[in-house]
Symmetry: C2
Subunit: 254 residues, 2 copies
Amino acid sequence: MGDGVRIQAIERAIMIMNCFTDEEPELRLQEICDRLDLNKSTAHGILNTLKHHGLMEQDPETQKYRLGLNLLVLGGKVLNRLDIRTVASPIIKDVCGKTDETVHLGILDGTEVVYIDKQESSQSMRLFTAIGTRYPAYCTGIGKAILAFLPIEDQAKRIPDQLNRFTANTLKDKREVMEHLKLVKQTGYAIDDEENMEGLRCVGAPIFNHTGKVVAAVSVAGPSIRMTKERLPMIADLLCESAEEISRRLGYKK
Amino acid sequence: MGDGVRIQAIERAIMIMNCFTDEEPELRLQEICDRLDLNKSTAHGILNTLKHHGLMEQDPETQKYRLGLNLLVLGGKVLNRLDIRTVASPIIKDVCGKTDETVHLGILDGTEVVYIDKQESSQSMRLFTAIGTRYPAYCTGIGKAILAFLPIEDQAKRIPDQLNRFTANTLKDKREVMEHLKLVKQTGYAIDDEENMEGLRCVGAPIFNHTGKVVAAVSVAGPSIRMTKERLPMIADLLCESAEEISRRLGYKK
DNA sequence: AACAGGGTTCTATAATATAGAACCATTTTA
DNA sequence: TAAAATGGTTCTATATTATAGAACCCTGTT
C-alpha cells in the first residue's frame, strides 16, 4: 500500500497556494511559474479556479495574486472543530434525543464543575440549570468523572478539605471521595446517586484531549424516579460512547 | 471575456472542503460522494491528495475525514497579510534604506500618535524613539497625516482645545491646526517643520484600510540639516508611494 | 516604432482524471 | 453462523480534460 493516488492538478493548486508567505504575500503569475516550473497557461487556469472560489485574489491594478479570504473561513472551521463546545454540541443533542434526559457538558474550575453547554429533556419534570451553573465537583457525576482522571496531586487540590453534606448520600470526607474516585477510574464513568440533590441522579463520563488529559465531562441527569438503577447501565454505556466520540474528535488517541 | 477557464478537478477539491461545517466537522467518503454526486473512486483520489498535503485528515479508527491543520496555516497567512505591522515592516525597511533616515509607523490614540514600528537611520545623529513613544498628533508629521484624513467631527476630538507650544514653529491654536489639515489633505502628506522639536523635520503620509478609513501613517524623520527644504519633496514622494503600497496591501481601493 | 514584460485567450492533443469493477475489512441482518 | 450490507482502497482502460504552445492584448521602456 503506497501513498495512494494523487491528482496532479490539485497538487499544483496546493503548491501554488504554498508559494505565498508572510514575507511575500503577493506574487506575479510569472513568479509563480518560475518557482514551480509551470507553464504560464496552466498556472493561469489554476489561479483562476482558486480565484473563482475565493481562495485566491488578484489585485486589479497590479495584477498580483494573493491568498483569498475563503481560506480564513476554512481555517476557522478547523479552529472550531478544536473547540470542545462546538465538537460536543451535536453529540449532546443526540444523547438527549436518545435518553430524553438533560445532558450537560462541564469543565472543572477550581473545586467546582461549571456547565458550559446543555441540552434539556422535553419532560416537564427535569433538572433546571443554566449554562454557567456551578456545583462542587466531588458530589456530582460530571465533576467526579473529571476528578477521577486527574493526576493524584491535582485531585487533592480540587477536593476541599471540608465537605458540605448536601444530602444523606453525599460522601463524608475527602478520604472517602478519593477512594471512590479510584472506583470511578476503573469503571470509566461516575454516578451521582442523590449526593448533590435529593431525587436527582446523574451519570458522568470523561472527555480527553489530544494530549491525553481529561478536559471536560458530559453527563445525563434526571429525576431518580426516571433514572432508575435498572436504566443507569444503558445510559452509562451510551454516555461513555459519546464521551469517547467527543474525545476522539478532540484528537485523543487511546 | 467570460469567467475564464476553471479546472474541474481543483473545483471538486474545493467543493469537498466546503462540505465540512462546524456542525459536521467530520464526514465519510460515502457522505461526500452523495452530497456532490461524485464517484467514490474519484473522491477518494481527491481526498488522498488533500490528505497528503495536510489539508485533510482521516481518523484511522473511524476512517472519517476532516479538514486538516494546514488550512490553519494558509488562513493564518491571510490574517497576517491583513495585519498592518506585518504589512508595513518590509516597506519601512525599504524606505529607510533609500533615505537613510528613521522611518516610523504610527497610529492615533486619543489626541496622541503612538509609534508601533520603526526602522532607524544608520547615521550617528538621528531621532531617538522607542516603539510605544507618544507625541501630540497636531505637531508631528505622522500625526497630522492621520488627522487630515479623519472625518471632521473626529478631527475636532483629536485636537486639544489648548495647544502646547513646543517650539516657535508649533501651530498656535486649534483653528490654525484645522486650517492646516485642509492643506495636508490636498497635498496628500504632512510636514512637521520643527513644530515638535527644534532641529527636527518629519514627513508623514497616511495609510488606509480596506474600508477606506485612515488607520495609520508612516513617516521619515531626521535632523533639519539633513532634511533640507530641497530634499523634502523627494522624501515626500517616496513616502507617499510607500504609504499607498501599504494601503493597497491592506485592501484599500482608491 | 519596436521591444520587453506580463497577463489572457484559444485550441489540438498528450496526459491524466475518471468511473467501473474488484478487493478487503467491518458491521449488520436474518 | 452465514450472508448481506456498508464503506474504504486499489486497479485499469479510456473518455475527458488539463496542458502547453502560440497568438493576442495591454502597458511601460528604450
